[in-house]
Amino acid sequence: MLDHCSISHKGSGAVIWSRSFTPAASQLAASPSSPVNSLVREALIEGRTAENKYEKDGYSIKWTFANELDLIFVVAYQRILQLTYIEDLLSAVKALFMKMFQPFLVAFVASLRGVTAEEFTIVQLRDALSGWDKLFDKLLKGIEDKAAQDRKSRLRPATRFELTPSPPLNDDSTTPTQSTAQVNDAQEISRNIEALKSRLKGRPSPGGKRRGKGGKGGLVDSPSGTDTDTGKRKASKSMRKWGDSVPTESDMSELDFSSDRTDVHSSPANVSGLVDSSSLGTRRKDGIYEVKDLNFAGTSDGDEGEDEDDIISRALEASAVGKDAPAAQSTLSSTFGGLFARLTGSKVITTADLEPVLNGMREHLMKKNVAKEIADKVCEGVGENLIGKKVGGFNSIKSEVRTALSNSITRILTPKTSTDLLLSIRTKLATGAASTSLSASKSKRAPYTITFVGVNGVGKSTNLSKVAFWLLQNEFKVLIAACDTFRSGAVEQLRVHVRNLGALVGEGKAGKGAVELYERGYGKDAAGIAKEAIAYAQDTGFDVVLIDTAGRMQDNEPLMRALAKLVSTNNPDKIIFVGEALVGNEAVDQLTKFDRALKDFSASAGKGRGIDGMLITKWDTVDDKVGAALSMTYVTGQPILFVGCGQTYTDLRQLRVAHILQALLKD
């Protein structure tokens, strides 16, 4: 049932043991596109280890880490199979493997870290793991058998509720299945009827959410469900009082809601939760109660060198305030023990240790305007990589978490494709020129097209003109296509920009005709205008075409389809998503939906095009709350090409990963 199973060293990727169960899987595993490779490249390096499942090419891949030895255990199987025992298999394999080969593994992994000078050979490796194949076979068989048995036992309760055929009536020795006790109360009768009915039908459990594994668990729960249900019904259902009889004294008192009787009906309110004693104001001498002043946190303008430890220590303090004296005594001995263990280098990080630190980090990231889901996932990924790791010497858990988090953020922010736009433009123009130089005297090479998409009001047209200015500085001829045919004034806005740009670079080498606007007014089809613009640019010898589209909400399906049509008809070289730096949790939604819509709706033209890069605008409005950059790169995996930080043509910057990282982790 499994296709491939492997145990490898996470850091270097050296495979310690692997097994493929089919010839196709073994060939695939030996190639660069093996499932484990895709797992590492797309999940681990991108930092998406929060979900414990990864799917690619019809394979479902599950994994687990052993962080004390930096090992990863991976199992790959066909996606259509729903194997429930994989998690158990992984943990059992991990436990068994570590137990059996602990000393050898420690030595091997130490040699990969450069710590020991012991000489290994590959023959030694093979010999040391010689018994493992058989053990693994046995383990796998055991777990598969257990899973099969579990499945069978879950199916068995379905037969339990068949009503046994009643014995012949004349037989005095048999006892009836139901008790013959006198039932006086109407409720008892109704309850018994319900119970009988449910047993006959095999009614599913109330609260259908508890379906368990494929609905088979529901049947197991029905007896308890029946009892609680009828019990509840007994308490809630009472006979209705109609108004044809005179109300009694007791009825009158129950129905009396006048104010002097409220103490009978109202329960004492829980006042302790209403007031936070630490935020109480002060009472002045003349008896007037003043509210507390808003505490402006000490601004650290000059403290550039403030330690990043501070954020974590503060987070720990904040969470430790809640844990008062009762915990103090018990932790005294444990702190000494922990301290000793840490100094000797054998303290193992546990979930409990990590929790307060990770919570603090999560809060900190969210304060920096990182979207909540992204902060959750990043911190979870960091935690998963650290659990079980040994922290030694004078490194505290804080510093381990801090380094792991900064590595993770650096990895997410570092682009995986080239962000050199000028090089791509020149390459395309050069290849185009080479192919057409023989045919026509005037070069009719295809121009490089860039499309700007985004929601309303983010600054697409402004930043498009900034990019145009930069391209003009590099002596390209730029055509701006006004494909925003919806918003009033969009074409005029671009006309003003083109006039300004023309005046700015008029003295340069490219001359007057370096930048032009291609527009067809309002109300027309944007895809058609873009197509004509590109054809015009090709005829007239423009180098780059910048296509401005109308802003649209990510939920608006007809507009997203229209955008996808523009993309699929014109096949632009770059699709740049323009987003604001101010956006918080919305960024995740916007980007996922834009990306998904573009890929799905433009897939008819072959491979669906997604977003190729991002441009973050209005950067000058956020000073160090730069979390939007992290959220956006996490969601798409694409790099941030430019950052717009002002309203003039020169306010275009490139992103520096180190700068963002410092801004994110600074207090």
Partner: protein, 303 residues
């Protein structure tokens, strides 16, 4: 002179200037002298141009760097997956080598390949490993990576001796016909030539693009960052000696770059007892044999 019968004047007790005994003072002086010498040696070590001692394996993803590392360290290449972190081992080039050399393998994935800059000051040699069979297709991406390395080497401070650079045309056995037989020297030369021409062409394109463009300022640079020789990310480092014409490895500013062709045979760990899991063809090289001669020879010439 009168006879020296008169008793000598009583020995006055030597009142020391400090309330320590002589032994303690001499001990203290020796301690100070030791500190002084240690400081002297340390300062001397700092000012002399340091030469690193490690060998750095860099290159794009799937080039075979970890396979080379395991082959050199464990006398047989292990099958590997994509690396996430740098791996450090120590190897002995030959059994009678005086000291083991540190070998550092840096992952090649674009998101994490910048880690090599941490190890560069320590490096005596940098080996850029390239997959010869796919270089024709992804020449531009490989050239970008190589450009980064070249830029980093030329930006090292002058107190550090720049490391020597070797271009390794790896997986040369995939070029030979039939694909799994031991490659001949002609195949190795073919591999090196192919890698050299493709990379020189791509790097020349990058040099032209970088030299003539106006870049965009980096965020938070505050105008204080001069950057390299223009270019978007300030990457320079592709200047050549002499007339400054087309880029060529033999005339590179930071030292001549040599090329060598290599291959390794990756061991199959699942062969174990049941040998039917994999079939070895007859012409395949025996286990433990690898084609890293070019690399070993170069490393020996270096030291």
């Amino acid at each position: 002179m009168e006879s020296t019968d008169t008793p000598r004047p009583a020995q006055l007790p030597i009142t020391p200037l400090l309330p320590f005994s002589a032994a303690q003072i001499s001990l203290f002086a020796a301690f100070i002298a030791a500190i002084f010498f240690v400081a002297l040696v340390y300062i001397r070590n700092r000012t002399i141009a340091r030469r690193g001692s490690a060998i750095l394996l860099v290159g794009p993803s799937d080039a075979g760097k970890t396979a080379i590392l395991t082959s050199l360290s464990y006398a047989g290449a292990l099958p590997t997956h994509t690396s996430i972190q740098p791996t450090i081992t120590s190897i002995r080039l030959s059994p009678d080598a005086p000291a083991p050399i540190k070998l550092i393998d840096v992952p090649g994935h674009p998101r994490i390949r910048d880690q090599f800059t941490e190890y560069l000051p320590d490096a005596k040699a940098v080996v850029f490993v390239v997959d010869t069979s796919t270089i024709a297709r992804n020449g531009a991406a490989v050239a970008e990576h190589l450009h980064l390395i070249l830029h980093a080497i030329t930006s090292l401070p002058p107190s550090v001796t720049p490391p020597a650079l070797l271009l390794l045309a790896h997986k040369a056995d995939l070029l030979s016909r039939p694909p799994t037989s031991t490659p001949s020297p002609a195949t190795l030369t073919l591999a090196t030539e192919r890698v050299r021409t493709v990379l020189e062409r791509e790097l020349e394109k990058r040099r032209i693009a970088a030299s003539g463009s106006v870049g965009v300022e980096g965020l938070g640079d505050d105008g204080g960052d001069e950057g390299g020789a223009g270019g978007q990310s300030g990457l320079g480092g592709l200047e050549c000696l002499g007339e400054g014409g087309a880029f060529s490895f033999s005339r590179w500013d930071g030292g001549a770059v040599e090329c060598a062709g290599t291959w390794v045979k990756v061991a199959r760990l699942d062969l174990g007892e049941s040998g039917e899991k994999g079939q070895l063809s007859e012409k395949e090289p025996a286990e433990g044999e690898d084609g890293l001669e070019g690399l070993r020879r170069w490393l020996e010439e270096l030291s």
